[in-house]
């Protein structure tokens, strides 16, 4: 039941975040480079949005994979181990992703990116 609820909650959240992500970040398509991303990512609000997005996306992805695997009878016996693994992967990926979001910082050596 917990997993089901996690999936639905993250699904609803993702409907919202994914729409933002697709429309604001990827539409219209453009050539991606660091300075271009930085324009948006320099604002703290975008950092917050992206971290929340990351959280829900990981929740949805990992619960989804967990359900896909435990659907198969043979793997049902490893339920516990799989759940632990999913939590570990989730935490590692969340920390790594958060670091990435934070890395979009104007370099302190102020030369290259000053307009």
């Amino acid at each position: 039941m917990r997993i089901f609820l996690m999936q639905r909650i993250s699904a609803i959240a993702l409907l919202f975040f994914m729409t933002i992500h697709m429309i604001v970040v990827h539409y219209p398509p453009f050539h991606i480079d660091f300075s271009r991303i930085l324009e948006r990512m320099d604002q703290p609000i975008w950092k917050a949005i992206d971290i929340a997005f990351l959280f829900f996306v990981l929740m949805h992805a990992l619960t989804g994979v967990y359900m896909v695997i435990t659907d198969v009878e043979r793997f049902g016996t490893f339920k516990r181990a799989l759940a632990v693994l999913a939590v570990v992967i989730g935490i590692v990926a969340f920390v790594y992703g958060t670091m990435t979001v934070m890395a979009f910082q104007a370099p302190t050596t102020a030369s290259a990116f000053v307009p």
Binding site: A11, I12, L14, L15, M22, P29, F34, A93
Partner: protein, 115 residues
């Protein structure tokens, strides 16, 4: 193998879901290059912005859109008594996905072709 529209929707949901999880972790690794600085980021992203990858992005868009609409369909089924309309609901979200993929795919295609 019991074939039905329900099975098709389930199969598509699973296939797009697994594909999106694989994409998610690749995506995090690619964008994660921002951790090692703007230069690494730019060079790694350049590699993934060749024309071939842009075509693949249309497939990605299709997966995201179908999976999202299928999720909306499931949420509707969860919270309203509409099992009677299960087939029309599936056709409706499928048609909506196709339209949206076309609408979103054209800009990507144009962008891919012009450079």
């Amino acid at each position: 193998m019991y074939k039905s529209t329900g099975f098709i929707s389930f199969l598509l949901r699973r296939v797009t879901g697994i594909a999106l999880v694989l994409y998610l972790f690749t995506h995090m690794w690619v964008i994660g290059s921002a951790n090692s600085g703007a230069d690494v980021f730019d060079s790694r992203l350049n590699f993934f912005q060749s024309t071939a990858f842009k075509f693949a992005e249309i497939a990605l868009l299709a997966a995201v859109i179908y999976h999202g609409f299928d999720g909306i369909r499931l949420l509707i089924v969860h919270y309203f008594n509409v099992t009677e309309y299960r087939k029309s609901l599936f056709y409706a979200i499928f048609a909506a996905s196709v339209l949206l993929v076309i609408a979103g795919g054209i800009p990507i295609l144009l962008f891919a072709l012009e450079g």
